[in-house]
């Protein structure tokens, strides 16, 4: 647990960090970034919380087995979407042209449309969920282990 100045600034800044991570995940098919990068940004927000508030305080509301469930469900959604295109081939983009995320942008430079790219936004969401939960679980578990060691010493 750091000083009150650090805690106040962290609780203000963490909102922007988490929203930026979700933005990178959700706009992965338009702008640079995607599931992996956005999940890493989100996990850096969790790291900020761990540094500012301490892992024991954070562990009251963020349990590692919940993060494990999130990570596993992200992996299952990803593989399920891959199997969804199995009528043609594994990992076929079966949502292009359909009413869901089915718009096709004109070839060449264009301003971008969020409602495009078929199955890619869903895969970005699944991978983003998986990465943010996985990296947050690693950070939380390691921080908890170090605090236990400090107490025992």
């Amino acid at each position: 647990m750091m000083s009150k100045i650090v805690r106040t600034m962290a609780s203000l800044l963490v909102l922007f960090v988490l929203i930026y991570g979700l933005y990178i995940i959700m706009h992965g098919h338009i702008t640079p970034g995607g599931g992996f990068q956005g999940g890493a940004v989100f996990a850096s927000g969790i790291a900020l919380l761990i540094v500012a508030f301490g892992s024991d305080y954070l562990h009251k509301s963020l349990k590692e087995h919940h993060l494990s469930i999130m990570e596993s469900s992200g992996a299952l959604i990803f593989i399920g979407l891959a199997f969804g295109g199995l009528a043609t081939v594994f990992f076929y983009n079966f949502l292009v042209g359909s009413p869901i995320f089915g718009h096709i942008p004109p070839t060449g430079s264009n301003p971008g449309d969020i409602w495009t790219a078929g199955v890619i936004p869903f895969m970005n969401l699944a991978v983003g969920l998986k990465v943010l939960a996985g990296l947050s679980a690693i950070l939380l578990v390691m921080a908890l282990a170090t605090t236990i060691m400090e107490v025992e010493e």
Binding site: A75, A82, F90, N93, P105, V127, G134, I138, L144
Partner: protein, 88 residues
């Protein structure tokens, strides 16, 4: 004997590096037409403006599945290694 073996293997390795450096294609002229295909057809085939995202999640989706598996295994290992034991 051992020093001779090290010298021979190192010289072979350096010879391979030099040969690769001499035989590499010029910068900006890749050996295959795959990149031109992806740049021209990404938007009409996958609908994604971001060609990198289209490659990662659509053209090379199987590779991303492997990456996700690696991350899953890493997280499983770390969580198992740092688990809390019950006192007593």
């Amino acid at each position: 004997m051992r020093k001779i073996a090290i010298a021979v293997s190192l010289s072979v390795f350096i010879a391979f590096l030099a040969a690769t450096a001499l035989l590499i294609h010029p910068f900006g002229y890749p050996p295959s037409e795959m990149d031109d295909y992806i740049i021209e057809n990404t938007q009409s085939e996958t609908g994604a403006n971001n060609a990198v995202s289209a490659v990662v999640f659509d053209y090379r989706g199987f590779d991303t599945l492997g990456e996700a598996t690696i991350l899953f295994t890493a997280v499983t290992g770390v969580v198992m290694l740092f688990r809390r034991r019950k006192r007593g």
